[in-house]
Amino acid sequence: MKQIKVLGSGCARCADTAKLIEATAERLGVAVQVVKETNPQALVTYRVMSTPAVVIDETLVHSGSMPKTEHIEGWLQS
């Protein structure tokens, strides 16, 4: 099961990103656990300065915007 973190606090796009990932995973039938990480310390850990950012299994795959659905599909299927 993929462990997915969505980094960022207080922005509407962060919540939307988490929802979009969950919905996409369900559609593709991929088992995921999506966590919204709001602790600012996580931004230092993953070296992010624009949110929302997406971390999959401890690797930063995206930052600075809401990811496009086709990108999410790519991450989930790899």
Partner: protein, 331 residues
Amino acid sequence: MLEIFNYLADRLVYELIGLAPETALGSAASFFVASVSKIFVLLVVLIYVLAWLRASLNLERVRGYIAGKHRLTGYFLGAGFGAVTPFCSCSSVPVFIGFTSARIPIGVTMSFLLTSPMINEVAVVLLWGLLGWQMTLLYIVVGLSIGILGGALLDALRAERYLQPFLAKAYAEGAMTDARTESKRLSLRDRHDFARDETLGILRRVWIWVFIGVGLGAVLYGYVPDDWVERHLMDGAWWQVPLAVLLGIPLYTNVTGIVPVMESLLLKGVPIGTTLAFCMSTVAASFPEFMLLKQVMQWRLLALIFVLLLLAFTLVGWLLNALAPLLFVGL
């Protein structure tokens, strides 16, 4: 060029709808229609053009430019980039962390963060459209100066002592100093896509503020009697500026909402320093924003910045009220 909107609004309100220009409702309605139409046309055209120009500028590149520069250069660069990058209060915490972890001094980062909400393309568009280029220039100069001087002062007071511990550690270690920024070349198509998304995104975010701000401005313009303003605010007594600044704090709006209010205050004859102090305080000193920054700063630093801003707005207000007779002879 922009008078066309006033002309069309008068036509619509007075001739088609048939309100009388002498009535409060008539003048408020004409003010509302003229301002709203002017603002939306300017917003669409200018945001698109500006976004097109700065499509390749992102926060990582800004950080790359600023990191490692001399402090003094840093304050100017910080304030300058703060002015040209669009601001969203949800990005202030990540930006603060990203800059600080790259060992950019707190003052330089604050120059960026103080200037960013005060000056942006929407503010410039509105000021220029509603109040003319002189006011726009004055507003930009004041905003940049507050950012530059505020940042320098925070460093002089060694503000880095009051960071939250995890960030103080990241600053000391330079946790992101080696961060690479990849620059990709943008095609015309990419730029168009970016500019279109920006324009739509900003419009979606600010349209409600345009209506609220202009609505409030129209009410002030149409219904607050001129002689009331004359009796209470025109004399520019010294205490009016700090009072205006204090009143501005709990009124949380963004720059889109405040510029139309500014226009009607000025039209009513409120002195320019008092008006500007009120508006900047409304835009830049907001509690929600400060609550967010609590995640990265200790209370003492937040309080310090807050007091600093209030003092700065008050001083600017006094200064402009004193200089106003020299500044705008023609207005």
